[in-house]
């Protein structure tokens, strides 16, 4: 009854379609390999286990932010508030854990939920008040950056009394094996996000809204509600990033954060997610974040000044997006 006719042809067509959809990811992965190979030759320190974990470790914060933002960007939106939002969440972690002396787990959960709350506000502003995402999240970026300074009196909050807090980032899950917890967190977060994006209603509607919002609404999907849900969900990753950065530093730095949003968006874009919405993947985003991490690390190892790293990153973004445009023309 439900058998599909000509299964062989059907699955071949399916394979081609899937391969086409994955091409940008494959390209991103290939460039990651090429860049890594280049640095392996350029520096004897690059291709070592300790450097491998160092790259992963340095990718965690950008990667976490980028994963949440991938959802937002697939809907055709943008989130500029993730950078300062992360700083605000880090401060909130300090408030919860240091100032209010809440148990660690409660403080961490509360911080992540606080990130979700920021996303919720963004979502309401965008979906209900119909403020364009760029403007709504630009405003949130300023509000969050300001609140981070206000709540901390513009001074860092140190987690010195809670040494276990930094273990969230720098500890090792398996004692003796040099593999930082932060990387485990990133992998788990990416896996959960990947499953949600590809296997659940939330993910499916994320793509549908980005592909054609009006058609999705006319198909009986409450687009407002789902958009709010998507922004709130993405906000959880801002909270998580706030935990990860403050745990790594052992302190909540209220003035950092600005600039992270653009790096995260760059990672998403390099990973093949279209800013016009409708397509993208978590795998691509993680690869994009890794490319940024590898560039950062490799250029440092080659003693190339910090200033040049952004120049290179900018060029990488242009190349990545242009290959995507070329690819679309071919089809």
């Amino acid at each position: 009854m439900t058998a599909v006719k000509a299964p062989a042809r059907e699955s071949a067509g399916r394979f081609v379609a899937v391969a086409k959809g994955r091409l940008q990811q494959l390209l991103a992965f290939a460039s990651l390999v090429v860049i890594s190979a280049f640095f392996s030759f350029a520096s004897p320190y690059f291709f070592t286990y300790s450097n491998f974990t160092a790259v992963l470790f340095s990718t965690v914060v950008i990667g976490t932010l980028a994963i949440g933002t991938t959802f937002v960007i697939i809907t055709g939106g943008i989130d500029l508030s993730i950078g300062t939002g992360m700083a605000l969440c880090a401060v909130m972690a300090g408030v919860f854990i240091v100032n209010m002396d809440l148990p660690l787990v409660v403080g961490v959960v509360a911080t992540i939920l606080f990130g979700g709350l920021m996303g919720l506000v963004n979502g309401i502003n965008i979906a209900v008040l119909r403020i364009p995402p760029f403007i709504a999240t630009l405003a949130m970026m300023l509000v969050a950056g300001g609140l981070a300074l206000v709540l901390s009196n513009s001074a860092p909050i140190y987690f010195s009394e809670d040494p276990s807090y930094t273990k969230i980032s720098t500890g090792n899950l398996i004692p003796g094996v040099e593999f930082p917890n932060a990387v485990v967190v990133l992998i788990v977060a990416a896996a959960i996000a990947g499953v949600l994006l590809t296997k659940t209603l939330l993910g499916r509607y994320t793509y549908s809204i980005g592909s054609n919002e009006e058609a999705t609404a006319l198909s009986g999907i409450d687009v407002r509600k789902w958009k709010i849900a998507i922004y709130a969900f993405a906000g959880l990753f801002i909270g998580l990033a706030g935990i990860m950065i403050s745990a790594r530093l052992g302190s909540a730095q209220p003035a950092t954060g600005m600039g992270y949003e653009l790096q995260a968006i760059a990672a998403v874009v390099i990973g093949g997610t279209s800013l016009s919405g409708g397509k993208g993947s978590i795998v691509g985003t993680v690869i994009g974040a890794l490319i940024i991490g590898v560039l950062d690390n490799g250029l440092q190892l080659m003693s190339i000044p910090q200033e040049w790293q952004n120049v290179v990153l900018g060029c990488v973004i242009l190349v990545a997006v242009y290959t995507d445009i070329l690819r679309k023309k071919e089809i």
């Binding site: 006719k5 399916r14 209603l201 499916r204 058609a215 198909s219």
Partner: protein
């Protein structure tokens, strides 16, 4: 009928001979011929995918031919781009508008070649004057200072035409110029075309509408599958002959439906629907298994009625009852929950997820209630169901993973229909179900609508094509200026009766009466609404 002046008869105005064009994997045109005589209107017909648009793109220089000959009045033509095509005297009015909505009519007409002073300063006064001259010369109902975005679709079409005429072309090519026009507007357009055709100019008129071609064209060239089939005089060939040349087989005409379905249960009852923008007191009912035609001119409020019913636009007043029970619809999600699906006239904008595959498009509306367990989507079930509908609706697609934008118009329409069938909607509102769909596929859509009605689904069909309304509808709701002016039974409905009620202008007395809360029908200012009780 063919009134070619003897002295120019020897040389065709525009000649296309032996043209080939191949795209990777597709032979779009092979040995194509076309001959436009001076002083004539030549219709170009063919199913979607026959090669009409490829030919147009060759003539406008968007594509380059692999081989073949183009001649304008005996001179070989070398077309390198749209701008150059215009300079050579070939103006093409594309089906999809290329207008800047925020600019005025005059600014749009002369976009890219604005009159200037001292090379840099725009000469707005001359711009408006030139536009005014052009508009008056062609007798167009346009104000050069009006902002294009605020115009009706018909008037936007007129702006496109004015733009085309502003180049003083010898050959005017119109691609489906009437797809968005009501019959009255079509008549005005035809008037304009007749005014344009002189002994040294000609028009190529691409259309799917046979009755229009009969009215305006002298000859008709038929192409099929990228090949030239034949050119015949319109006066001496029947519509059926032309259509069978297009599709390569004989088409069964099919006659009107079997009549009123008075005995059936009333499924949907709309009473006193009113919106701020347009609708005033729209009331009608819909029965099980009925196809209810919704006819009217452009701007009569047909699409607005549909959108108001499904909650896509805000409603000021009115009630909607489903099987006798009043329901509240604030959002399309409510309508869908009650089993009401709307299929927009603009499939690309409001219907399809163009860059998603066929199965995602079919599953979209039913995803939540049929293919999701605990938030997780059951792709296998969605896929199997989509495959069934691809089969049963005869959707032509290489696979379920084909991207929707690569399907033909007819198959895209079927994908959207499948979406609502998977969702198990009992009431389907089709807005211009066959717009932009070729003749063969149209027949299939008609058959499908009839099958759906047979199965007990209730259908509201909005259409600007009167033959379509007459052929398909059990009853016809006729609207004019936001009101229902009459509900006709299949027996009462004729082209003339529909046009009569569609052009009925409720005068100020009626307006006043309505404002005062009086019933204009009782006052004898408006015809009695509806025959049913």
């Amino acid at each position: 009928m063919v009134t070619v002046e003897p002295q120019v008869a020897s040389l065709p105005l525009l000649e296309v001979a032996g043209v080939n064009k191949t795209f990777p994997g597709v032979r779009a045109l092979s040995d194509m011929h076309l001959e436009l005589r001076a002083g004539e209107v030549l219709a170009l017909v063919g199913e979607n995918g026959a090669g009409k648009s490829t030919l147009m793109k060759l003539l406008s220089g968007i594509y380059t031919a692999d081989s073949g000959l183009f001649q304008l009045a005996g001179e070989p033509l070398e077309i390198t781009g749209p701008k150059q095509a215009m300079e050579l005297g070939i103006s093409i009015i594309h089906q999809e508008f290329n207008l800047v909505p925020h600019l005025t009519v005059a600014q749009n007409i002369f976009i890219g070649r604005e009159p200037r002073r001292l090379r840099v300063l725009l000469d707005e006064r001359r711009l408006v004057r030139d536009a005014q001259e052009l508009i008056e010369g062609a007798n167009l109902p346009l104000d050069p200072n009006a902002v294009v975005g605020g115009l009706t679709v018909a008037n936007q079409q007129m702006v496109e035409i004015a733009k085309g005429l502003s180049h003083d072309p010898r050959v005017l090519i119109m691609d489906e110029p009437t797809a968005a026009l009501s019959d009255a507007e079509v008549a005005a357009l035809h008037e304009l075309i007749r005014g344009f055709v002189r002994p040294d100019t000609g028009v190529i008129y691409i259309s799917h509408r046979m009755e229009e071609i009969r009215r305006i064209a002298d000859r008709v060239t038929v192409i099929r599958d990228g090949e030239y089939i034949d050119t015949v005089d319109v006066a001496t060939s029947t519509t059926r002959e032309i259509i069978s040349m297009m599709v390569g087989r004989t088409i069964d005409g099919g006659n009107g439906p079997a009549g009123v379905r008075d005995d059936r249960e009333v499924i949907l009852e709309v009473t006193g629907l009113r919106t701020r923008s347009l609708l005033k007191d729209v009331s009608f009912d819909l029965r099980a298994g009925e196809i209810l035609g919704l006819a009217g001119l452009m701007g009569a409020g047909r699409t607005e009625t549909a959108r108001a019913i499904v909650g896509a636009d805000p409603v000021d007043a009115g009630t909607i009852a489903l099987r006798g029970r009043p329901i509240r619809i604030a959002h399309p999600a409510d309508a869908v929950r009650h089993g009401i699906g709307y299929l927009s006239e603009d499939r690309k904008r409001y219907g399809l997820l163009l860059d998603k595959d066929v199965k995602a498009n079919i599953a979209l509306a039913a995803l939540r209630n049929r293919f999701t367990t605990a938030g997780f989507v059951n792709d296998r079930a969605a896929r199997a169901e989509a495959a069934e509908y691809v089969d049963s609706l005869r959707i032509k697609t290489p696979s379920l993973d084909q991207t929707a934008k690569f399907l033909s118009g007819g198959n895209q329409q079927k994908v959207v229909i499948a979406r609502w069938l998977v969702r198990d909607c009992d009431i389907l509102i089709f807005d211009e179900p066959t717009r932009g769909i070729d003749v063969g596929a149209k027949e299939e859509i008609y058959q499908l609508l009839n099958e759906l009605a047979e199965r007990g689904k209730s259908i509201i069909m909005i259409s600007s094509e009167l033959p379509e309304v007459l052929r398909m509808s059990h009853r016809v709701v006729v609207m004019s200026e936001g009101r229902v002016t009459r509900i006709l039974t299949a027996a009462e409905a004729t082209q003339e009766s529909i046009m009569h009620y569609a052009t009925l202008r409720p005068d100020e007395n009626v307006e006043d009466a309505v404002e005062l809360g009086l019933d204009p029908v009782e006052l004898g200012l408006e015809p009695v609404e509806g025959e049913h009780s």
